[in-house]
Subunit: 527 residues, 2 copies
């Protein structure tokens, strides 16, 4: 089928969607009707998880319109074109291949003269081999001692995703005896970030992973120097403590400064790189390659669901469609991500980048301004912590914020405690269940200060436990949701031209080539 | 002067403000005019800091209208009433006294039969005495060994503020040889939070600070049990390892379960409690009482500026007024907090609670619905990390997000590195300067995908270094900004009824007293 890339507001189905009668969430979520909705408005995900959208502002009529929209916007066909290797990142004229790091969804994709699936799995094998040797004590420091700590040096996509995934699995790995090395992360150009981390580790037994696709990211190269100085000051040979994750054409690729180099390529954007060598090196070193492989399996299983044309069998597409309905028809400007799991403490920060950097655009994929709003503000913290923080505004503020809950039946570690007749895990789950209903249904009170209007939409992804497979599936869900929303908004979700101007001006400041306001700010900051 | 509490949209000056011609930020921030603005649009803060608002959408006409608004809304008089002990938290019929923890701004305030300033300083002295004894080895574990770690058990305001302040000063304290004990934090009811922290500490040499005003916060009591089990399993007497921070009337106050109890009261809300015993115990134990005293001094100095009737001498009031202009006249729905300092990594999370829990309200202080928007969404991460994450949307997204930058001329630690002719600290500062100008002025490009419209407002607080005094001043600035905005919106910024419904429903779930949607969610989550 011929694919056409049209703006959202030119689609007949979108106009239709705008005119469908709005759902009264308080009404439909109350009583037996509400119970039925929660039972029925659920779509299976990979790894035994489910996407439950009962508390989103949807009914059969809205669903019918969303289904038409999915068809008219050719979401399935566009995804197919993407995983079959078309140039979907039109701005940078690049393929978009992060799905290939975890599975083959369609045709073989050949680029730069190689089969890309083979390229990615080869890198995984090389990383696995390297990690196994480190764990076995075959690759050691100069004194022949085992490495105990791995430190990732990277920023943005080379930091947030891998860090969030590491934190998500750290305690799980401890309990399952697969925590091979502790991982730390250095990202900020603030010298106190590197110095602070170096202060807490034993550099003599640390291996550093330098991650930069271009090999020219200023923050990362600066922090590399920081680390090299620390190694030198400790009387160590830096090149025996560092590996690189970079593109084959970068200056880092063949340098003698590194024990080894593992490769990524231009077809995987930083924010989509957790399943590539960018996440692979640090996570394989921390948890062992088998755990990283399970993480990829979970993502691959979830990716397959993204191919389904039937919206009710495609949770990422469904989530994307409802999100666009909330953003462009109902007019809600932000979305909160609220995982009820301490292990997912930095998952919202990763999704914040994934979503806002992908779809925070004002022009369509042809560079023409769009007449509708695109990506929303994304923020969040884990529950129950958030409940004691910003939930006040979510319940009673003047703006409505759609919520994406994530909950798990079981915790990761083997300790729990019974207080007032329930475990902590039960309390955690009781809270997320309670919040969904409180937000949707509200509660009238004559004292208006204690009144809850309700009508505040949410969905919940429910899983058994945060483990490598469910984590992979969860990551895939949100990556594909963002991709489908990009298709709907007709933007290029895979470039980030908006970060360039700041870089250019910062260089000018450092070169003292400024005038006007910029010069005065530079003076005020003593640069 | 008689104080009247009026809704924002009833004020003549607000209507006037709405009609003032809008400022074209690209225009006014360009060329020599821009340079002049940056020089002039600056208000001194305490501790040598300054609030620079050159890149906010303001000019003389808007300023004149804001000044009138401040007068008509009686901001100075309302603050005066607050610190002189009037019942400003009308919903809960309570005084609002957090300023008294760090200074006496006005009249002596007597409540519950005592002078409240004396009450707070007495608690500080008791905490100082206790902390000094712990540091001197006069208070030890049962084996007579010194405590090396302090663990705060608390949630919401008992967690976010103290945690953010600890992280802000941890490296500073290391360099200045005042890091007496490492601090850790347990907050989430997720059992993996407590188990995860307990896994990383030596409980035999740890002292735990249980923080709950009421003594009944379920998350906190649950986590206390967790910790007590761990102590018991290690063959230790829990009561020799725990102190309590609570109100004098709570069940914890006189319990034998604690080595000591320090007191707060109902006149300090959780999110305003960093300068009370809630922050005082953990920070005095971690850094020594002198460091905590400096932190209070910084806040007290900044508080004094809040009394100024002249808006141009009152940075918190000015920030508040511009924020309300951006929210209610220009219609921007969210605000980002972007500190260019890794030390302030969790400062945005604290401000998120402070702001959203205080002003996320739909009714005025008399319980009547308001016809205008109130508190915005607050989010943020430290720069430069954010630049590589969500800044794409901030630069080129379809919504405009006002930005609150914070920058410091110097870093905290004594290590830095010169790469490409500049230090990391200079790069950090160059980036924040560049971002302000990039957001304000933009840059035209024929390729619309590389085009930056500009007109995106920001302000910056510039200080010398993150240290106890500047941190205190910074905290005070934002607390008072939120307070003044609450006055402008005529809401009660000091209660949080919006968190109650979720609590009630969660209890019902745990008691298995549910029906409808709530019952099905409970089943799906295996409760």
């Amino acid at each position: 089928m011929m694919i056409t890339w049209n703006n959202l507001d030119t689609l007949a189905s979108f106009k239709e969607l705008s005119q469908v009668e709005k759902v009264n969430l308080v009404e439909v979520m109350s009583g037996d009707n509400g119970a039925e909705r929660v039972k029925n408005y659920s779509v299976p995900m990979a790894e035994g998880m489910a996407f439950n959208y009962a508390a989103r502002p949807i009914d059969d009529k809205v669903m019918a319109a969303l289904t038409k929209l999915a068809e008219e916007a050719q979401l399935t066909e566009k995804f197919e074109a993407l995983y079959n290797g078309e140039v979907i990142n039109t701005g940078e004229k690049r393929l978009v291949l992060h799905h290939l790091t975890r599975g083959q969804l369609g045709d073989a994709v050949v680029a730069d003269g190689v089969d890309k699936r083979t390229f990615y799995t080869d890198q995984q094998k090389k990383i696995a081999d390297f990690a196994n040797k480190v764990h076995a004590g075959e690759i050691t420091n100069a004194a022949g001692e085992k490495f105990t700590t791995v430190v990732q040096i990277g920023i943005g996509g080379s930091d947030l995703g891998p860090r969030a995934m590491y934190l998500a699995l750290e305690n799980w790995a401890k309990i399952n005896h697969t925590l091979k090395m502790e991982a730390k992360f250095i990202s900020n150009v603030d010298p106190d970030d590197a110095a602070g981390v170096l202060n807490t580790i034993d550099v003599a037994h640390s291996i550093f992973v330098l991650v930069s696709k271009s090999g020219t990211t200023l923050e990362t190269l600066t922090n590399e120097s920081f680390v090299k100085d620390a190694l030198k000051n400790a009387g160590l040979d830096a090149s025996k403590h560092m590996i690189a994750v970079t593109s084959e054409t970068s200056p880092l690729a063949k340098s003698d400064d590194y024990l080894a180099a593992f490769f990524m390529d231009d077809y995987i954007g930083g924010r989509y790189s957790s399943t590539s060598a960018v996440g692979g090196a640090v996570l394989s070193l921390a948890f062992g390659p088998e755990v990283f492989a399970q993480f990829l399996d979970g993502a691959a299983e979830e990716d397959k669901l993204g191919k389904n044309k039937d919206v009710l069998k495609n949770p990422a597409m469904l989530d994307a469609l409802i999100g666009v309905y909330e953003r462009n028809v109902l007019g809600y400007p932000s979305t909160a991500v609220l995982p009820y799991s301490q292990a997912l403490s930095r998952f919202p920060a990763h999704l914040q980048q994934l979503d806002m950097e992908s779809n925070g655009k004002s022009v369509n994929r042809f560079g023409e301004p769009v007449d509708y709003v695109t990506g929303p503000i994304i923020f969040g913290e884990p529950g129950t912590n958030g409940q004691h923080s910003f939930y006040q505004l979510l319940h009673q503020g003047t703006d409505i914020v759609p919520l994406q809950f994530v909950g798990f039946k079981n915790n990761q570690m083997d300790t729990d405690v019974v207080i007032q007749g329930s475990t902590s895990q039960q309390k955690l789950c009781a809270n997320v269940a309670a919040q969904i209903v409180a937000f949707a249904c509200g509660k009238s009170d004559d004292n208006r200060n204690k009144n809850f209007e309700g009508g505040r939409p949410s969905s919940i992804i429910i899983g058994d436990q945060v483990n490598p497979k469910t984590l992979g599936a969860l990551l895939s869900h949100f990556e594909n949701k963002v991709m489908f929303q990009g298709f709907l908004w007709n933007v290029n979700s895979f470039d980030q031209e908006g970060v360039q101007l700041g870089k250019v001006l910062a260089k000018r400041v450092l070169a003292h080539e400024t005038d006007g306001a910029l010069k005065v700010y530079s003076d005020l900051l003593n640069i």
